[in-house]
Amino acid sequence: MPGRIQSIERAAALLRLLSGAPQGVGLGEISRSSDLPKGTTLGILRTLQHVGFVEQDAETGHYRLGGGMLSLGSRYLDGNELRARALNWADSLASLSGESVRIGTLHKNRVLVVHHVFRPDSSRQSLDVGGLLPLHATSLGQVLLAHDPLARPEGGEDEEGTVADLPAFTRHTITSPDALAVRTAAVRHAGWAWEAEELVEGEVSISAPIHDRRGLTVGAIGVGGAVERLRDEDGEPDMQQVSYVRDAARAVSRELGAIRF
């Protein structure tokens, strides 16, 4: 029988250490806690980062478990199941906000619409469940970019790592990857996203993340509608609507077991 491979044991020890620190840990502390030289520690972390098991926070430089690790061994949440569990909350969000509601999940590098509730008025509307939306130009997508480590906007980066501009849909669409990174950092900080006319002229959308019991972001829920209704005179989003959206996201997350109180 071949012997054990030391570097794999060390990598496993580092992963275990990171799993206890969801906020991230600095290189020095990892090195001290694991009793490994900094150089060795950095080599292992870089390798794990390359395969997607570890990621490094752009601002603090701290390391934490990556999306590839989180999706290993965890059952993927079926979009149809998400819809079934979210049905009542999505209805009540539409009814309170008076706007149409969509729930989106990450599908390759776009947002897949898994649920759509009509705006509660008598206007003619058609279901767009199954449709794909761009990540960078929708608030649903920006929430996923901010919270799901696997989310990458389409066309943002080619195989050599060269950064290209993102496709524009209106003159307000964020096309610069750097500007998008600033936006998603802000979304991560706030816990919700909004965009005005970045996908469609005259429309605003507001979204918040849905978490499951492991704390993973499995989707986003949001409202969309006319800029006159969802944006106030100061150009800020209607905070009443923001609170409806965040309450609905929390309620669905609670339904999925994310919040235990």
């Binding site: 079926d78 979009g79 149809n80 509730v117 009509f118 509660p120």
Partner: protein
Amino acid sequence: MSQQYIAAIDQGTTSSRCILFDRDGRIVSVDQREHRQIFPKPGWVEHDAKELWSNVEVVLQEAAQKSDITPDQVAAIGITNQRETTVIWDKETGEPVYNAIVWQDTRTDDLARELGGEEGQDRFRDICGLPLATYFSGPKIRWLLDNVEGLRERAERGEVLFGTIDTWVIWNLTGQHVTDVTNAGRTMLMNLQTLQWDDTVLEAMDIPRGILPEIRSSSEVYGEARGYLAGTPVASALGDQHAALFGQTCFDPGDVKGTYGTGTFLVMNTGNEPIHSENGLLTTMGYKLGDEDAVYALEGSIAVTGSLVQWLRDNLGLISTAPEIETLARTVDDNGGSYIVPAFSGLFAPHWRSDARGVLAGLTGYVNKGHIARAALEATAWQTREVVDAMNADSAIDLTTLKVDGGMTANNLLMQILSNVLGAEVVRPMVAETTCLGAAYAAGLAIGYWPDLETLRANWHKAAEWNAEMDSAKREHEYHNWKKAVERTLDWVEH
């Protein structure tokens, strides 16, 4: 004046709930308690009537308190309930003489056959619209009178009272012994024309009239509540399927609602005259608003719809959760030539064949689990089509829109298939809790919280809509195949 709300109590088969609604028909607060299912013998199902009542009391109080709604903010209480379930209790002490016998209980199987005599199960159909079957309350009352010691004598002396669950809740809440036409209509004891207890049936079933409640409309003040909401008018009662019809605002003849759960209940508003079905449907009450003319309905229930999906999950392990049926079914474009007829305990409306058993037909080496998942969803749609065809034939009104509710409406593929096979629009309303909403609407109308049906119609909003995307030649071809599969279920059980 502070904001006012309507409280709807839904005393159902597995739980009691209370939902508070605002003037726009939106849900403001919900509370729910489950109760025990008692199975003394195979086929027997009972509930502890006192437990039902104490749960109702708790949810009524909790629903208000958890949203900081004070008793004086509750303008009226409406009631909807599991139908046909039968309670008899002591008039003085309020103590039930026996557990409530639940609608699913089949202990009256032999008794129902006996009561039919030579004329068979349709003996009372012209009077009450229903065939003799184990579900309905009349035979259950008779069973209690025959089997609970001394009960017949106490009944003759006027010491006990009978009620379906609406009556039991209203009696405990207000002290009044009343029922509404929709619940009375499920006992087999009410005459559909006079809306009063029918002496012919009472005599044939040997049930003393004195134990029966007074039959009232579905929407009027029966009395004032006691307890936490003391003084609040109790202003509506509707059996659950009737409440859903009302909550879906099916106010016009030809309007149909379908509730899709483990089984499916389809109810069509047929206007102010009862229609006796030639096609295996039940004639039942829609609702009656105060002094207005009663509205009648045709009902067709399908025993196995959502439970077929559960069967694929639990017995075959094809999926791990019910919603995954849609994911699996979407891996293919059609049923691959396969059809499932889930006649697990025979075929119900409109066939009524107890000798039938389920089939999986049209199998070839090509069929995979995706095709079977699709065939399972199509089974719900074709069974709906058969009931809707029967409704169209009986009422001479063609369905144009089906208003759906219930858990299975989360399945978008099923809703699309339903629209395809019906060749009609399928719409899901924004408030999925149509049963409670119907009870709230009826109570709110009775006290003037809502002025009229038009206001209620304006409250109704589409959450989603599906339109037929199947050409009629394809639809007829598939229906033909479905009918062939149905034929193959017949004559399986040999008596």
